[in-house]
Symmetry: D2
Subunit: 339 residues, 4 copies
Amino acid sequence: MSNTPDLRVGVVGAGLMGTDHITRLTTTIAGATVSAIVEPDETRSAAATALAPGAATYTRIEDALEAGAMDAVVVATPGQFHEPVLLAALRAGLPILCEKPLTPDPESSWRVLETEQAVGRRLIQVGFMRRFDPQYRQLRDLVAAGTAGELLMVRGVHRNPAVPGSYTQQMLINDSVVHEFDVVPWLAGGTIRSVEVRYAKRNALSPAHLREPILVLMELDNDVLVDVEMNVSIQFGYQVATEAVFQRGVARIGQPEGLQLWQDAAFRIAEHEGFGTRFSAAYDAQLRAWVDATRRGEATGPSAWDGYKVAVACAAGVEALGTTGPVALDLPPAPDLYA
Amino acid sequence: MSNTPDLRVGVVGAGLMGTDHITRLTTTIAGATVSAIVEPDETRSAAATALAPGAATYTRIEDALEAGAMDAVVVATPGQFHEPVLLAALRAGLPILCEKPLTPDPESSWRVLETEQAVGRRLIQVGFMRRFDPQYRQLRDLVAAGTAGELLMVRGVHRNPAVPGSYTQQMLINDSVVHEFDVVPWLAGGTIRSVEVRYAKRNALSPAHLREPILVLMELDNDVLVDVEMNVSIQFGYQVATEAVFQRGVARIGQPEGLQLWQDAAFRIAEHEGFGTRFSAAYDAQLRAWVDATRRGEATGPSAWDGYKVAVACAAGVEALGTTGPVALDLPPAPDLYA
Amino acid sequence: MSNTPDLRVGVVGAGLMGTDHITRLTTTIAGATVSAIVEPDETRSAAATALAPGAATYTRIEDALEAGAMDAVVVATPGQFHEPVLLAALRAGLPILCEKPLTPDPESSWRVLETEQAVGRRLIQVGFMRRFDPQYRQLRDLVAAGTAGELLMVRGVHRNPAVPGSYTQQMLINDSVVHEFDVVPWLAGGTIRSVEVRYAKRNALSPAHLREPILVLMELDNDVLVDVEMNVSIQFGYQVATEAVFQRGVARIGQPEGLQLWQDAAFRIAEHEGFGTRFSAAYDAQLRAWVDATRRGEATGPSAWDGYKVAVACAAGVEALGTTGPVALDLPPAPDLYA
Amino acid sequence: MSNTPDLRVGVVGAGLMGTDHITRLTTTIAGATVSAIVEPDETRSAAATALAPGAATYTRIEDALEAGAMDAVVVATPGQFHEPVLLAALRAGLPILCEKPLTPDPESSWRVLETEQAVGRRLIQVGFMRRFDPQYRQLRDLVAAGTAGELLMVRGVHRNPAVPGSYTQQMLINDSVVHEFDVVPWLAGGTIRSVEVRYAKRNALSPAHLREPILVLMELDNDVLVDVEMNVSIQFGYQVATEAVFQRGVARIGQPEGLQLWQDAAFRIAEHEGFGTRFSAAYDAQLRAWVDATRRGEATGPSAWDGYKVAVACAAGVEALGTTGPVALDLPPAPDLYA
């Protein structure tokens, strides 16, 4: 591979996630170069360029496309700005790694799907990086192998020590549970049939405008039942874990690892304090897979169709926040491109 | 205590649980003697007497009472026969350790309560032995201490390797979840407000007449949300575990312990294979506490009122097996005797 | 068993361990009664009698023997007073549970052996209660089963949070490692061939007169190599653990168990804080086994010969505290009574 | 960094480790290119070139140096061929990442040190990649922080499932324990003072010419005592773990991680099956650190002096294989370049 020219990647959006992608592309991911940064904010643009001095800077993606400045695009703007960027990059025929969510609602996600189908080949990989986490892959392999029998139930936890003041009640679904909406069907081999939300005793340490933790119940079309505890003010650490209940056994991922310490009458293992350490290898593997597939002219990973399905589940989940009982999902058949 | 005469205990019912109580009383529990065995089946009666040669045998509790053959009674018949035995022993003023459930339905439980109130003092201890398990006690102490903040959610698992053919769908509630109906409110300091049942994908290894595993959702009147996975055909072992979600942390009990083995590219800890090993110390502690309290003329442990509340929850749970959404509980105020 | 009269047990020595035995005998161990307490100190004697009101008190064992006050004897005096008590009880033909060590040196241990042989049957059980610990038994079963291959090496830790000021350098061997001298050969199926001591960096938190932790190396006559870390000032908790290295795997016992807590960015399991919790079940089982065997007229558990072998190993271990390289053990053949 | 030209790396030796380095450099390590491969064997050379098509091939390092084909060198030949390659590369002033051991004996290591000192700056980084393992770094940080008190003892295990027939008795020291000789002093902040070897019961599953497992005892000049179990035929998996005994606690690294499975009456965590998974991140981090330092014109990681000290320890260890008691090390003072 060392003789193929590097893949020229444009990064759209130079906020927290965009900067993280730029750093990985310049220091960890061999075979790719950041050739363009698209960011309207001057301060952010300058900070990002300092990390990738050879990159040209633009304020609009259209200019970067016209300049032929990139072979492929990473989209890392806030979700509400994804649609126009995606449509422009799709029409230019460029491969795209798009941070989750694909777009914030099913209608706009559907328009993206239509455009990709009009182009006629898969160009979008959605940034559901859990699919690249070694432990989720181990668990999916176990489901596929069938050695513990059929999968019957999935019990998840997503625990954050805290969230910023800007985090809203709907973001419990759209920003956090969204990952489970993608990864659980991927693990379990089904599609979400309904979503229900149950409220636990409210955590008095949560920001005043949040009512959480919540328990999200999902039913898949293969009858697998899922319950996910979504908890964003629990303080003790960052923990994303999944317990899969099979016919003949139970498997769990996401437990703490690393240095173990006996001191002060206890045995301790450090827990993660954020997604950075928990999923660092997954972010690397995701980018690695995308760069490699892109250079081979292929598509891989979660598709726009996966992104659309999650947009529909999020809409149902948000509705379930204010509803008693399950909210059913209404999914069209998968377009041919994704079949 | 060695100078007080031994407590003369009559055991009513010499099946599996009754025999187990006789063995403990004769070999493990100092200060008590099995003085009477009440069992209509001759074979069982003979087998039980072999374990406690000094015990007189009866076919009806009334005869044992009339003979003045016992200072206290252990009731270990099947649940549907509890009521007349309890009423007779209560009227005789004898302390009673009654295997769970108190009785199989709220109406008969209420009649037992009325009789105990008529006698005017607490004589019944219900056999919810989890309250005597060291790990449950540790967890309850943690809730009470408040060092991890308020309790918000409880997530439980009750996994059995298999059940006999006589185990019915309603026994998922009345025989198994019944323990959670008692121990979770005791841990969490509340009363059950509603019960809901959700069905997971059916385990094809279950007996044909069972639809399980199920997920039982409970809401307590202090807003704590509870979900319990009830699973009776999972084969891999016997696992009863509880995860308590607090404001600032999470605690878990019931994980495997003991010899750890690295072999064949894996690290292993044996899992329990039945309730005998998991709760053996709890059964001992329960009997110990009851014998001691009885000899002091006091009552301790779960009362008949606790048994009644569980009977009401079971009735709601059984209803929830065939209902969509939560089934609310309707509890009368606690009678003065139990306040 | 409930019809056999209770075993009348005399307890010699009413200090810490003696009182503990009295409490177990009166509250936990069915089938036995404390009938005599032998203790020259009046305060101790009175305190012990309060726990066992029916017991007669004596200042010398000879008086208790003459009075026919006991069927069996528990010896719980300090080790240097064991010999005359043991000789008197042996000559009276009474079964004995003798706290470890049998006696403090090989010469006096040998005299005890000779007396027991003169009586002609096994009367002494030495209080090496680790043999009754469920985890050690599991490990011994694994060695015997051979499913992990032959045992090659044993790596142990014995970690105490602290010791009283009266604890001497020789007690590292005679009071603490003494348990390993008994239990490791019992596990591994061999006899100790040599003992060596290596010094670690001294713990500055140890009492000034102690040089520890130490590493004790033992070689068994079946070539199994053993290293035990002996550590008495480590503060964090009480941990006695053993790792057994087999041909095809490794097994470990003695790791922490019980309530698991995620809080403050860590996962925690409480560690024991003393031998009371770690070995409580073993103490119960030991007494249980002894009472039962005694009532059947049999002997069980570690014999006086086991006690003698440990006395020889302790003498070698103490010598090794001040020696470079291994100190070999010189054991006579086992007398016929113990073959 | 994306604008600096890539570092041109020559890889000397295209066997197992050389090929692994070539793969990492071409696929994982941004900022570096394999520009030269030095390998006399034609088949190996061709296979390696297929992985790095742009690389020029040579049979002798002198030719590669003369051609100016590389900015830096990775030495991955067998250890007995290291010396001439190192001397040539040093004289050419090139930075070197040299697989362990530096050279196979203290004399040749010393000649390498003299040459590096004649050049006048640190050019060699020895491939002791454990120093880059996140868990070893965590443990070293804990030692340095002192929060658990002073380090007193280190207890290690190095367990291999099997070794090839070419693995000799001396390789127990020179190929395996060699890592402990580097990493333990690095962790513990001292220098090895003596080495002793004790033999466990021989594993009958070992190749006939091996007598193992062994226990290697090291004493550091800060009095820390170390014992390492070295075990190469244990079959169950690959386990490298270290327990550090402090004044106030104990820390352990290297335990299994990842997917946890309850099945067949046991709880299981997969154990590593080889060094590839256990140390993959460390190998990456090592190469990453070296490439970065090299491009900045600096040296980092284990130096040639570290390599020399390990060569001396290995010589002592090999001697200890056939000796009773500790073998002392005789180290010259550190040359100024490494002070």
